[in-house]
Amino acid sequence: MADHNDPNAVNSIFSDIDVSAADLYDLFGFPSADTTDGEKVVIALTFASVPEPGILDTDMLYRIQVLAEPRVPSSLREDHNLDDLLRYFNALREKYLGPLGAAEIRVTVDSSNRATMRFIDFPGGSFVKVVDTNKAVTIDTPEGLAIKAYVGGRDDAFFNDLTGFFRSINYAPQFYHVPHTMTEVREAKIPKTLLELDGNHFFNYDPNFPEWGYHGNKKNLPAEPLVWNGDRFYRDKNGNYRFVYSGIDCQAGKNINAIILEIPLAFVTKSPNQHRVVSTWGESWVLKAANKVETIPDHPFWLEHPHVLLDAFRLDEELKKYKLVDTDGQPFADAALSEREDNRQLGANNFWLAPHFIKRLAHLGWGFGPSITALGLQTSFDHDNSPVSVHKTYGSVLQAFPRVKKTLFQNLNMPDDSWNKKGLDISLRSPLDIFVPNVCAIDMDTTGTWPFGRRPEDQVATRFLAMFLDMQAEFQGKKYHLDLLNDQSLWEHAPIEPKTPPNPLKNDKDFLQDFPYLAEPW
């Protein structure tokens, strides 16, 4: 029997694809309010609590990269063209591959669940410290600065209506048992939308099954193709649209594992007065099989994989023993803009994906833009006054670019001036500034609220949707801003049910005022 090659003979194939300790969830970063002995930056990387909350996987290496630089005004303007944009990406490439390498923190955990933290190439020195997990500890740097660190389990700090988001993009695996072989069915070819589409019974709310899509409740995949041929948004007998969101916190009661740091700025840079922006991003790496048995030499795979080619030059001996699995910089950078394909896990180097980014944003815009217009709001996306969301994909970045130009370049207004705590001349940020490169750029002169960093209390899922609002328009005499869709009064007056902001306004557990900031695990 089986006198032929059969690699999948006992391979797992599909049935045991579990949540992995390599699944990164969020990266938070903001200036600490505690300025005793100087400014400090808080960075928190959260990931799946596997094997369990408070116990970390010994095959994993987590990497947090940090780079402090002066704040420079964005070189991007709304009247820029595609050539300018591509030049911008090229400049980024030089920056992130050039000599200005980031410092980094690597964290591994041993079989006794003690964490080894390596601080590498910081201006304040390189050193190693082994710490207990699930305990806030203070680590002294070679120059006598104090770094606070916590490695272990916490409450999941993300609060959002994930099901609503998946309903907005018609993501079938949230609602149906989708065979793994049917990858093309995952994101159904139905217009993305914020408002339910009339007759889209494949994804619209089912009053007979209100838990559908929540808490793992799914239906069997229908035999017929998941398509929609309608021409309008659904409206109820009162003329109201139905929101795809419910405002429910799908992450409530869940735990994560986390690496949380509060680092003196003087350790991150020798020029803390000039280097006011701390860019950071996280990565998860899993030990390669060959290195688990520790005798086989490493042979990187080069062909047709530029990031691997890149790694071969950049990676040190330790990292060559690991395989990069996930990256995290900005919320939704992967999930919403890169479709979470494994081979697109480039992190800060996502300028490789710039054309894809533009095409994907245009695809999303055709879905969300008409929804916004239908609600009587102004959108930054040019959808030719389409009365309903459209499913449209682009093969050419040249065609996509004019549609998304304003969305890409517009400055995102903040709800008030509280973010700019010192009242400095700090430019607002555009989606392009935010997402390329895929880093969390913490402005130390701000509160660090998104997109000037990311604070745990920021409702980033809703702020992400606000990118598609026209920031030049006004609501009740005030310019649109990032928190407009979080404003209950907007929904009270909108022709929509339920009258709720798309996502919950606060976390299920209160965040802590002090380190480690994220709430205790459940």
Partner: protein, 397 residues
């Protein structure tokens, strides 16, 4: 807190226990009416994993029944037909594999379906198409299993360096969470060494496999063959007996019999050969086709019954015409003294592009017997160039 407790059980036992536990946990939902497609699919996949890991023919038979029931309940889901296709492939039912690919919803155009199609091309001797299929899949995403598939093809076609590099690339894709797969790749690399007479290299890979994934009978089975080739007969016998006690499959019984034969102990060989033949014939009588290849080998090399060997070889080649089945038929015809057809058939096998010491040894022997004006000597030289030890003990795979 201590996470990794000292563990006396092997990786293999742990995994088998884990699969069994998962099966128990989802069995009720899987068999509920109306069927929940995810639970039912997960359950039959776990059955497949368990049967494959344990090497159990009985469990494979039960799996087939379960897949059929799941398909009846759920419909032509791509995942179920993918599983069915894998099972059919394992059992050499290539016609059924083609049907599975057509019937499974979305299966044919999925990466998994395309890999199966390339496997089919390989089995049916379309090596160029098979290679292009694997390369296209790897271009899209360099998964370890497709790299291993391409490595196997390159090895069979004589590109040893290319095969080695593909296996290395496959290894590089595997993480600490996939140690069984890593061990499997080590076995393949060891087999490449073994078939080229590089015994030390083979042993290193087999030992690495054992380190990576402990307690696996498949590693023992490979090591047993190597020990036989190295003349470490007692070790080989012990290993084969251990394997057979865990996985009593006829091909391993035949291998142990042949080992005793090569040790000059025909009386020890006989019961094992008898058992193996009995199971092969029972299987064929039930309409199964997966042991045709072994029956051919058995009648050729164990009992030297050319006519019977030809009968089974013709049945096998009707299912899949590739260099391996062609060579088997040619060798059977040679045993049956039908030299003219043996030469014709071997010509077709050798013109396929396959480069294999055993193939060339058989070709050389047939051409010599047919007075093939030096062609026989040429092939025997080529066999020795690939593997100077091609006469040593080897198992029929």
């Amino acid at each position: 807190m201590v996470v990794d407790m000292p563990n006396q059980t092997s990786d293999y036992d742990n995994e088998l226990e884990r699969i069994t536990r998962l099966m128990a946990a989802c069995e009720r939902d899987a068999l509920a009416k109306p069927a929940d497609s995810e639970s039912a699919t997960k359950f039959v996949y776990l059955m497949y994993q368990r049967a494959s890991l344990a090497g159990s023919l009985t469990e494979l038979a039960a799996l087939e029944t379960a897949i059929t029931a799941a398909i009846e309940a759920i419909g032509p889901a791509g995942d179920l037909y993918f599983l069915k296709a894998n099972l059919d492939f394992k059992l050499h039912r290539l016609g059924a594999v083609k049907q599975d690919l057509e019937t499974g919803r979305g299966l044919k155009d999925s990466p998994q379906g395309k890999a199966l199609q390339a496997d089919l091309d390989f089995q049916e001797g379309r090596y160029g198409e098979s290679r292009r299929g694997y390369e296209a899949l790897i271009q899209d995403e360099p998964t370890w299993d497709n790299l291993a598939r391409l490595a196997h093809l390159k090895f069979k076609l004589g590109d040893f360096a290319g095969a080695e590099q593909c296996y290395i690339d496959a290894e590089n894709e595997l993480t600490a969470k996939e140690m069984r797969s890593f061990a499997w790749v080590q076995l393949q690399r060891g087999l490449v060494g073994l078939r080229r007479g590089l015994y030390k290299e083979a042993e290193n890979h087999y030992r690495m496999a054992a380190l990576a994934y402990s307690g696996y009978w498949l590693v023992d089975e490979h090591m047993a063959e190597l020990c036989g080739a190295l003349g470490r007969f007692d070790e080989a016998v012990d290993l084969y007996r251990k394997v057979i006690s865990a996985v009593p499959r006829p091909e391993f019984q035949q291998a142990l019999g042949e080992l005793y034969q090569s040790m000059g102990q025909p009386e020890q060989a006989k019961p094992w050969h008898d058992q193996a033949l009995s199971t092969y014939l029972d299987s064929a009588q039930k309409g199964e086709v997966c042991y045709y290849h072994h029956l051919t080998d058995f009648y050729c090399d164990v009992v030297h019954d050319g006519e019977e060997a030809v009968k089974w070889a013709r049945k096998d080649i009707a299912l899949r015409r590739n260099f391996s089945t062609l060579a088997a038929l040619a060798w059977a015809l040679y045993r049956a003294d039908e030299l003219e057809e043996a030469v014709e058939t071997m010509d077709e096998a050798t013109s396929s592009g396959a480069v294999d010491a055993h193939l060339f040894f058989q070709a050389g022997t047939i051409y010599q017997a047919a007075n093939g004006n030096g062609k026989g000597n040429k092939y025997l030289r080529m066999a020795a160039e690939i593997n100077p030890h091609y006469h040593d003990f080897h198992a029929h795979r």
